[in-house]
């Protein structure tokens, strides 16, 4: 039976009507919030934020005023952009062979006197012991690499690939390395995963990669950035909330949530997004000030690798750009990152063309997934091994009457 669109449409209409009713109020609050952000003095803000502790939401620490916009600098004559993106096939218990696959797509684009491009992809199949994280020296403590854990592994593989891509560019050419998404492994915060997972993906994963990239950056001009399209972050909005807040932390913790506060005046930015504010504050091409994230995963586990971010108006949308501290504290690298990302978005019609092409190399579509399953069955048959699937999968494929 297909989805009953009539019943769904009635509910959709109701949702959209509610949105329309609250739209005017939201626009007024957005406009006021943007004005306050623009008028905020750096010292007042830093002082207020430095006193804030133990709140039920995450806020960003600004490196300067909240609402300032910076225009891009000129592009260098010669430059390169490298990007990596990934896609995966998760372990499927309905398949006869437990296995997963990560496909990393890469893109190297060189601009200037010798424009060039190199697009590629590297699928890697995991099975047997490759499907588990095992604590060194034990066989009892292990975590299956599937679901979100496979997602972490893919993210690390993407960032690791950037290292290789950079090494393929002549060292005299300024290079920007881009990944889609975030440099912060948000999913690893809290107590959701054992230490083993954090060790694998942080201590043996992203941190040594960031160390290496920082080392490489001492001898050549490279920048590393993560690009978030249509971000839903509220860290800057929450910094504004804290700036406005005159409620004590205990009361705030009891009554406020990550999305909203019942108190005045800090209810002003309730449910607003960072990108909505910067849509008002930034002209096309401009970037915001740099902020650094207050995330507990970075604070507690990134070994001093602070992750900064800024927003950019690429002419089509407000995107969030995350950079490591050694980029954020180098004005030349920030300007280079800003100018090259803007140019990439211009060439890619609103999204960095290099990430877009890396994605095209990585993507595993529905038909590819079916072919993967068929190839697996054929491989088993060739070896004289039994192929089977679950009755559940079979019943889904053949909905009999």
């Amino acid at each position: 039976m297909s989805l009953d669109f009539n019943k769904t449409l009635v509910q959709m209409t109701d949702v959209v009507s509610r949105m329309k009713t609250s739209q005017n109020d939201r626009n007024l609050r957005l406009s006021l919030a943007a004005k306050i952000m623009k008028a905020t003095k750096e010292n007042d803000l830093k002082e207020k934020l430095s006193l804030a502790k133990d709140r039920p939401f995450l806020w960003a620490n600004p490196s300067s005023e909240l609402g300032t916009g910076h225009s891009p600098t000129e592009l260098p004559e010669e430059y390169a952009v490298v990007a990596a993106d990934g896609s995966h096939i998760d372990v499927d218990r309905h398949l006869p062979v437990p296995c997963s696959l990560i496909n990393i797509g890469t893109c190297i684009l060189q601009y200037g006197t010798h424009p060039n491009a190199h697009l590629s992809n590297y699928p890697k199949l995991y099975s047997d012991e490759g499907l588990y994280l095992t604590e060194h020296g034990t066989t009892t403590r292990e975590v299956a690499i599937e679901g979100p854990v496979l997602g972490f592994k893919r993210t690390i593989d993407e960032v690791r690939e950037l290292e290789k891509l950079i090494s393929e560019i002549p060292p005299t050419i300024p290079t920007l390395a881009l990944v889609d998404g975030s440099l912060v492994l948000w999913g690893l915060s809290g107590q959701g995963y054992p230490n083993l997972v954090r060790q694998e993906f942080l201590d043996k994963g992203i941190l040594p990669i960031l160390d290496n990239l920082k080392q490489v950056a001492q001898n050549r001009t490279i920048s590393v950035a993560a690009y978030v399209s249509l971000p839903r972050s509220t860290e800057v909005v929450n910094a504004l909330r804290l700036y406005l807040c005159d409620t004590n932390a205990v009361e705030c913790k009891r009554s406020c949530s990550n999305r909203m506060s019942p108190f005045k005046p800090c209810d002003l930015p309730n449910e607003l997004l960072d990108r909505e504010l910067f849509d008002i504050l930034l002209k096309p091409g401009q970037r915001s000030e740099l902020f650094f994230t207050n995330s507990s995963i970075v604070r507690e586990h990134y070994n001093g690798h602070q992750i900064y971010f800024f927003y950019i108006n690429n002419g089509q949308e407000i995107a969030r750009i995350e950079v490591p501290d050694w980029v954020a504290t180098n004005e030349t690298l920030v300007s280079l990152t800003h100018a090259l990302i803007l140019d990439q978005c211009y060439k890619g019609r609103g999204y960095p063309v290099s990430i877009s092409e890396a994605h095209q190399q990585a993507v595993i579509n529905g038909s590819d997934r079916q072919t993967f399953k068929d190839m697996l069955s054929s491989a088993l048959t060739r070896q004289g091994l039994p192929t089977y699937t679950s009755e559940k999968t079979r019943s889904k494929r053949l909905a009999w009457l």
């Binding site: 893109c107 684009l109 060189q110 060439k347 092409e357």
Partner: protein, 189 residues
């Protein structure tokens, strides 16, 4: 052996499709190319440039670029994402000793290398006009036939005589089709 231009990506006994190694670097329409073992000869009847991935539409992107070349300089990935393909109509094959004007027993293998034919092979093919019959029955257009004959005439020792004789062969092949014969001959002169 002359320069390798690409590989066969689709083949049957009477035609094959070649993907060129370099974008826009296809021999001209009517050129004679060869591939495989035994060597199969074909005439280029169509040249197409299109996206490698047919699901990706091409859109106009050069509004702010001063020149067409600048579009490719600003978007170097285009050279990797577009490709030039050509269709070749089979006109004969060789077992190493003799050239046969007809379809080979089997089509060439996929990924067979494709080369522009050299003067020696073209001379061998042009000794008989049987290839014209194959071209005409394979559905080659007038432009393809005339382009092929013009090109052969530039590669054989006596091009003028070749053109005169090919006109006579065409007159035999196109009996009762005077307008078509006339159209091809006009293009040869």
């Amino acid at each position: 052996m002359s320069e390798r231009i690409g590989e066969i990506i689709e083949a049957n006994t009477n035609s094959f499709i070649v993907q060129c190694y370099k974008l826009y670097e296809s021999p001209p329409l009517g050129s004679i190319i060869q591939s495989g073992t035994p060597t199969i000869f074909g005439v280029i009847s169509e040249i197409t440039t299109e996206p490698l991935d047919p699901s990706r539409p091409i859109i106009a992107i050069g509004h702010d670029e001063p020149t067409e070349d600048e579009i490719y300089r600003s978007n170097p990935q285009l050279n990797n994402l577009l490709c030039t393909r050509l269709t070749s109509l089979t006109i004969g094959y060789s077992d190493g000793d003799n050239v046969y004007h007809g379809f080979p027993p089997h089509p060439p293998r996929i990924h067979s290398f494709v080369y522009l034919s050299g003067n020696h092979n073209i001379e061998s093919l042009a000794k008989s006009f049987d290839f014209l019959h194959l071209l005409l029955t394979s559905g080659a257009g007038d432009e393809v036939i005339s382009a092929c004959l013009r090109q052969i005439s530039q590669r054989v020792q006596d091009g003028y005589t070749f053109l005169v004789e090919s006109g006579q062969a065409l007159a035999t092949e196109l009996v009762g089709q005077f307008p078509r014969l006339n159209a091809i001959l006009r293009r040869l002169s």
